[in-house]
Amino acid sequence: MPRRRDEMVPDAEFRSYYGQPVVKRPIWHEPHMPAYLYLGGLSGAAGAMAAAARLTGRDRLELAARMAAFAGAGAGTVFLVAELGRPMRFLNMLRVFKFTSPMSVGSWTLAAHSGLTGIAVGSAVTGLLPLAGGTASVASGLSGVAMATYTAVLLADTAVPAWHEGRRELPFLFSGSALASAGAALMLTTPRAQAAPARAAAAAGAMAEIVAGGLLERRLGLVGEPYRRGRAGRLMRASRVLTLGGGLLATVAGRSRALTALSGLAITAGALCTRFGVLEAGRASAEDPRYTVVPQRERVDAGRPASVPGR
């Protein structure tokens, strides 16, 4: 993939059909889709933390992580079903498995992850089948990291310029944000003596989210513009401020309840802003034909048009 020129393409004359969009904007709704993306990330990273807590013998942190992973997957599924309209439509997706469809892969990932976190919580709450519960808890570490990252592919595998061109950074933006979200939730729900890894996760995830977001906006050049402008720009900036503040606070919150709460809430709000901002940037980039036409025109004029796939 050739590097995009760094300087912004000037407001050059570009031609379009009465300024109408070339590609269709994603029809996904607010708050369903961004809420699902946030909850999926939270649940996934919490699953990974449950596994790590189990392997290092932190039982209270593990319990909190099992709960968060299950709650996130459950609430996320509710939002996903609301997006689709009816529960049957989600089950309908499980009739097929297609590697070329991130939504198909994602439906299976969500089903597996929900199942594993359900077993882990069920066992923890009832005290039944502790071996199965523990195994599920560790396995949810694997389903969790898939859960927290596949959503980036879901967005990138579209013709929406701001998403498709962000295919390298989006997974890191989402996994960083997921780690921060889970850290935030767990430092609020774990006894302070065992919450140190949660605080570390909140801080490290926040930093990763900020770095990946910055790279995303910078590397994309013209196509990165929608992340900086209008409502998407405001959301992404708010996300950065909240995430940075929350992340820094997590490093110094120590055992202060008030600071921990403040940090956790800021990080959560920041992670939500990130998801709403990314959805909005995608919409804006699809609605303005400039972001579709200009890069393609440059490719053609430079004599290196796209070729047949797989070559």
Binding site: V145, T149, A152, A159, R167, L179, A201, A286
Partner: protein, 249 residues
């Protein structure tokens, strides 16, 4: 499998009568798409959508009108088909791309995946719709309704190879007549979607008509996307591990 068939739409002879739009609606029982006056041109349908399977674009230029009847491209590598999680979109024996409305669950994934902005979800029934290249008529040995109705033969239907030859000949003739701006769009099997089952003769750059100049099937980059996501998943796992190691007491 039957021979691959498709459309060659020669916009140089389109008169913008919209017979294709009407014939498509009638045959396929496509509902009203809302009658809007856009105040930009004589185009009152605007774009392809769930209830507009043929769309006639009107481009007003200095001293001339360009008209073009647009349609689903029935791509060789169709992003809509690749990303559909239910298998509602399928490739027919004629190598065209069709949605089975009874299987579609309205997830809407195909909509932003199409690099041409063709397929769309209908508000009221929540399912995705687009041109079927009159699959039912093809099975009955007939040509699609739009091609049948087109009074100028701007829309030509037939085996794709034959259409390509006809199109080349037409471009050559136009060039000889001094219409040097005539060019084919979408016919090359080497383009970003592996060639389209519906291609066009245009008299200006594709973007003038609202077409992408160099579309790519979005799933071309999917293996790379899964690799980047895999990297991010590993980084997440490593990050979690680091949080626990660093804080081990």
């Amino acid at each position: 499998m039957a021979e691959r068939v498709g459309f060659f739409t020669d916009t140089s002879i389109c008169i913008g009568c919209k017979a294709c739009e009407v014939a498509c609606k009638e045959w396929n029982d496509v509902p009203d798409d809302g009658f809007v006056f856009r105040a930009t041109s004589y185009d009152n349908t605007g774009a392809l959508g769930a209830s507009t399977w043929r769309h006639v674009a009107f481009v007003e230029q200095d001293g001339r009108w360009l008209m073009m009847s647009d349609v689903c491209k029935h791509c060789t590598h169709a992003a809509c088909l690749d990303v559909c999680p239910t298998g509602a979109l399928f490739r027919t024996e004629f190598d065209t791309v069709v949605v089975q409305s009874d299987v579609c669950n309205g997830c809407g994934y195909c909509v932003p995946a199409c690099p041409y902005g063709v397929i769309d979800r209908r508000q009221d029934d929540g399912r995705a719709w687009k041109c079927t290249l009159c699959y039912d008529r093809l099975r009955g040995g007939m040509e699609p309704a739009c091609a049948k109705a087109c009074p100028t033969k701007s829309i030509q239907f037939g085996p794709l190879d034959e259409l390509r030859e006809r199109a080349e000949a037409r471009v050559e003739r136009l060039h000889a007549e001094g219409v040097t701006e005539a060019r084919l769009y979408g016919e090359s099997p080497d383009n970003g979607v592996g060639g389209t089952g519906a291609f066009f003769l245009l008299l200006d750059e594709p973007e003038t008509y609202g077409l992408p100049p160099d579309p790519v099937v979005t799933t071309r980059d999917l293996p790379a996307m899964w690799r980047w996501a895999g990297g991010a998943a590993l980084a997440l796992a490593a990050g979690v591990a680091a949080c626990f190691v660093r804080t081990r007491t």
